[in-house]
Amino acid sequence: MTEFKMNEAELEKVFQKRIDDEQKIEPKDWMPEKYRKNLIRQISQHAHSEVIGMQPEGNWITRAPTLRRKMVLLAKVQDEGGHGLYLYSSAETLGISREEMVEALQTGAAKYASIFNYPTLTWADVGAIGWLVDGAAIVNQISLQRTSYGPYARAMVRVCKEESFHQRQGYESLMVLAFGNAEQKQMAQDALDRWWWPSLMMFGPHDADSAHSSQSMKWKIKRKSNDELRQSFVDQSVPQAEYLGLKIPDSNLKWNEERGHYDFGEIDWDEFLRVINGDGMCNRDRISHHVKVHNEGQWVRDAMRAYEEKKRARELKKSA
């Protein structure tokens, strides 16, 4: 345990000055309890999203249309597991254990990105997830590379480097469908129709309605607001959809010359709340699958522990 020589008020001043000076906060530094809690919530949710996100895509690994697509999808899903690991480890530097985080996920105390509660109905969904869901995640994660907590920022740098492949493989596979026959093009359009709005929801509530936003901005945990990030995602996605010859399912989508951005329609916030609060199409499946796999792996964890103990006992005996 690190000991601090100043009182709380002084420590808090030093802490905020560091943040204001664009310095990173590191694990052994003093930090306000709320900053710690806020970070644990955000980083663990981020980690859970990576891990739960493996399910909708994993659903298509055995049915990928070619061997190449299958290898690519396997590599991508493997990356997501790795990203979950970077993030869990970075949350652990804040004094929470992996077990506590997993339990919070499984009991529903912790959330994850609501988009993974939608089903992957066709192969085109895998492409749409890469293009849109990973695309939205990248917009968010690029800004998080500058987050104030050092281990989180460094994890984001690593994640962003790997994530670009995810988006490009998704878009490339959608290109094949969009430039294919009428039925294939329809598959791509259908996937866009179903994934567009949930992708916009990934950025969370409007700034005015976001429970954690203003404090997170003051502490520079978040560097850009939900609405700012959502706008950049819309702006970058429109030309990408146009190139594919697909139509974004929003009749209010229009270029606004004055703002220099696309205007777009309102998100169905009732749906957002319903899904985030557990009542989406796949919420129960996602968690029960996680619990099932976790329990099925118990014997592996037990065996590893037993082996370690045996090894230690043997070494002790040898040195005695």
Binding site: Q23, E26, A75, D79, F165, R168, Y171
Partner: protein, 97 residues
């Protein structure tokens, strides 16, 4: 003549040169315990304010892979070019992904 004096354990020293950067290995030294290693490291490796934070780790606690094992460790990665973003050729109009 070999000294009968008990040898001091070796510690590996890591310095964080600036907030936000990873700790980087800079060298090693002998010390009685972790606290002493930290003090020696300060005197030895940060005399010119090279860092803002030090880590000391007992060398015996470090487990390293061997270069001879490189093939079994890394060869399988060489035939997976699809793990790289540049593997996917996109047209100019949408290439800024």
């Amino acid at each position: 003549m070999m000294s009968t004096e008990k040898k001091l354990p070796l510690f590996e020293i890591f310095v964080r040169s600036k907030r936000g950067l990873d700790h980087k290995h800079v060298g090693s030294l002998h010390a009685e315990d972790h606290t002493q290693a930290l003090e020696y490291a300060r005197d030895c490796y940060t005399r010119r304010s090279e860092g803002v934070s030090l880590w000391v780790v007992k060398s015996s606690d470090i487990v390293a892979s061997q270069e001879e094992d490189a093939s079994s460790f890394y060869d399988p990665m060489d035939d997976k070019p699809y793990r790289h973003a540049t593997h996917y050729e996109l047209p100019e109009e949408v290439n800024n992904m």
